[in-house]
């Protein structure tokens, strides 16, 4: 597995795809994120791991402001996503998101799912939207399913449609929140394969996952969160193979 090379000179001039600084998020009196510093460079695949309730989903959802940060800043391609002046809808078309529960639109066909946002948010014409949709469906290996309804598909197929739906917006980056956790084990492979392909093409990806194999193989960096803070991060082989912190070790001993 090779990730796209990031020329050393380019890295210093391009800003990170995602840059989170001192991010705190509370739900009432429940402090879920306690000062997170986190970034994803362009073309980088960052896997976020950690125990349940550690705030992984909350961090991910703050990136496209599905959750409102309490304090701190979230910059996406240099744009402050928490600034009220920011055109949030426009930013979101650049940030693809894939949910654990797929969240396909059940009243629309697969093709309808893939064209809706292109037409409503990107103002693409119908013909162009369909063309883009078909290209992305082929990419996830579901070209023949364009007229099916989501309820007629397996979980793995639904998740691949959801990925194709996000890709149809031509996003600069993709956020995944445990994309395979709701799937039967035998369906996980197809979805991971699509994600690997994306990584190979150089897509910037932030992946919350429990799939340590995927993190090791595809991730450029692994971030371990616990109790609302980033405990440890680094190369997958370091964090997963030789963790420096006791909390990381005890978490890994449970999941590996």
């Amino acid at each position: 597995m090779t990730s796209v090379s990031k020329g050393s000179s380019a890295v210093s001039t391009t800003e990170p795809a995602i840059e989170v600084r001192a991010l705190c998020k509370s739900f009432g009196s429940n402090d879920v994120l306690k000062g997170i510093d986190f970034h994803v460079d362009q073309g980088e695949v960052v896997c976020v791991i950690g125990p349940s309730g550690s705030g992984k989903s909350t961090l991910l959802r703050c990136v496209n402001r599905l959750e409102e940060p309490t304090t701190g800043s979230v910059m996406v391609e240099g744009v402050d996503i928490t600034d009220p002046e920011t055109d949030l809808d426009k930013m979101r078309t650049r940030i693809g998101m894939v949910f654990q529960q797929f969240n396909l639109f059940p009243h629309l066909t697969v093709l309808g799912n893939l064209t809706l946002a292109q037409q409503r948010a990107k103002k693409r014409g119908k013909a162009e939207a369909i063309e883009v949709a078909r290209r992305n469906l082929a990419k996830v290996g579901l070209a023949e399913k364009e007229n099916a309804f989501p309820s007629q598909l397996s979980g793995g197929q639904q998740q691949r449609v959801a990925i194709a739906r996000a890709l149809s917006m031509d996003p600069d980056m993709m956020l995944f929140d445990e994309p395979t956790s709701a799937l039967d084990p035998e369906l996980v492979g197809d979805v991971l394969e699509v994600m690997k392909q994306l990584a190979r093409e150089g897509m910037t990806m932030m992946v919350v996952t429990h799939e340590m194999g995927f993190a090791r193989e595809v991730g450029d960096r692994v971030v371990f969160m616990d109790g609302g803070v980033v405990v440890e991060q680094g190369k997958p082989e370091d964090v997963l193979g030789n963790p420096q912190h006791e909390r990381t070790r005890s978490f890994l001993s449970k999941v590996l």
């Binding site: 496209n64 599905l66 809808d89 426009k90 930013m91 979101r92 078309t93 940030i95 998101m97 949910f99 529960q101 969240n103 396909l104 639109f105 059940p106 009243h107 629309l108 809706l116 946002a117 409503r120 948010a121 990107k122 309804f149 309820s151 007629q152 959801a162 739906r165 996000a166 917006m169």
Partner: protein
Amino acid sequence: MKPSTRRRLFQGVLYAIFVIVILVVVFLADWDAIRTNFFNLEVAAATFPEIVVIAAKNTVIYTVIAFIGGLILGLILALMKLSPVLPYRWLATGYIELFRGLPALLVIFGFAYAIPIAFQWRPPGGSVGAGLIGLIVVSAAYIAETIRAGIEAVPKGQVEAARSLGINPTWTMVSVVLPQAFRIITPPLTNELVILIKDTSLLFIAGLALGERELTTFARDSLTSLANATPLVVASLLYLVITLPLTQLVAKLERHNKRGR
């Protein structure tokens, strides 16, 4: 006694009561009087064709107008009730509580008389038009609550998916939430439509001209002029002719929509 024997005995008693009641009714009833007063074919024939081409037709027209009006106003109220703007929520809640709490007859009566006076304006259709506005106002209160419940029943993930794709709140509501909400509430909405069909009979209070009469008013007038109750039976059958195919149609529609759930 064994439990199974006791159960069989109990069922036997229930059947016996049923048969006795039927027999008593059959023996006590004056069948000749019933036939001449309720099932008199000559009288029934005299109500045709007006009872269909005027009365039943008007019932359908009034129902369609009131339902469409109620849906539009009800949707606006439901959106107001879910709005982040507090005064909108108050207004919608006040409206819904008020008009669900009043008898429809009173509201129709009120609108039929108050609108021409208050606005110095005669709505199209005159007093029926004003009465229909009253009926719309009442049905909107019920429909609003149904639509609100439907919107709230659409999973939150649907809105999140749409918003994460950059679809704005309005389009999210129109293309993602409402289509799913209306599928969810098809059964209660059908119920409201059927209730509305019958509630068009309350329009008489607005004062209906001869050509404006709906089924119930027409049947009552015929009852007086023909001195016979058969028109009531004919009207009842026509109500069923309207409602039964409708509920069948909606059931079919619902089966069709199952796929997209």
